[in-house]
Subunit: 206 residues, 2 copies
């Protein structure tokens, strides 16, 4: 669908840059307004493109948005992009700064904008799950597991549930309460919930 006519066809080639520009513009608009307010016109203008250029590459509005979600940059949430500060608490805090709050703030806004779509399309749920929800949970699961492995805490009763605490509460606050997810809030969750639910290993302590 987005393939460039590499064959021996005549004619001008599709600009691969445009794909990225359009998807990025889509994410920008999605992060700033709401799904219903995302117009192709707006995206095209933002990307410096014509509407046709968009319709030539994607079936329609929904397909475009799904593609944009799928290319949300979650690479920084892979094990390699995660901080390793020595303690779980400061790992959590390190996530707050660089990619995370601007990074995450953006992810949260996109997440909320797409919510309208989620209630209708199964594909949207899949896209959001794959691009945003799963990577976030996986990142926290990784950090906690690593802390357990190095003996900082005893293995938790339910790692998966614990790994979802911060994404859930941050999303709830940013989205439904429309309040900033700042360090103060994060600390209240980290200390008051996640770390509180973890126990020191009963035997040797460090």
């Amino acid at each position: 669908m987005t393939s460039t006519p590499t064959a021996g066809k005549a004619g001008r080639r599709r600009d691969p840059e445009k794909d990225a520009q359009i998807l990025q513009a889509t994410l920008d608009v999605l992060a700033e307004t709401d799904y219903a307010d995302v117009t192709i016109e707006l995206v095209a203008a933002r990307a410096g493109a014509g509407r046709h250029t968009i319709y030539r590459r994607w079936e329609g509005k929904d397909e475009l948005i799904l593609a944009a979600i799928a290319c949300t940059d979650s690479a920084d949430l892979g094990p390699d992009g995660l901080p390793d500060t020595g303690t779980l608490r400061s790992d959590f805090l390190a996530l707050l700064d660089p990619n995370w709050m601007g990074g995450n703030e953006r992810r949260l806004r996109i997440l909320s904008s797409v919510s309208a779509m989620i209630t209708r399309t199964t594909k949207a749920v899949d896209a959001v799950t794959k691009a945003i929800v799963d990577p976030s949970t996986a990142a926290y699961r990784f950090l906690i597991q690593r802390a357990v492995d190095r003996g900082e805490y005893a293995p938790p009763r339910n790692l998966d549930a614990l790994a979802q605490v911060i994404p859930s509460m941050a999303a709830y606050r940013a989205f439904f309460m429309q309040q900033v997810v700042d360090e103060e809030f994060m600390l209240s969750i980290i200390d008051g919930v996640v770390l509180a639910a973890l126990r020191e290993p009963s035997a040797v302590n460090r």
Copy 2:
């Protein structure tokens, strides 16, 4: 605005029932579809009313929806409506059944539908906060505090954060993950997070 002409005016009186029917229909539609798909036509049809009857009472679509949110029945979340089973764990579980899942399932759906509105209007945030977010948090805060008061657990480090765990994680799951908030899931949060973060009182135990 919704006042019935009680003065010595002539003419047919406004049907007070209609107010409730229309607001209820609005909530129904909100719970089933999405904010953008809530048409006055749909609400009117559901309420067995004409569109004029709606416009006669509210300024427009947004006002109607705000009014509907405000009348979400959260009375069952007051202290009097909450279960008192003797232990915090079974209190939590009791919330899952009666008003809660059908009750809460409905609240969650409405919450998600209004999300589109939240990103634009401050009033919507206020309405949702007052009608849904705050009552939910308050209910859990009450249950936890009561358990602490009767000596079941030691006072938590951060009661407010803890009280938001279940609403947040339930909303996140129901909304962004589009998965059912069933007993299995609730138990994983209750045991794996909330109760894990609470400690037995160090001194006399019960």
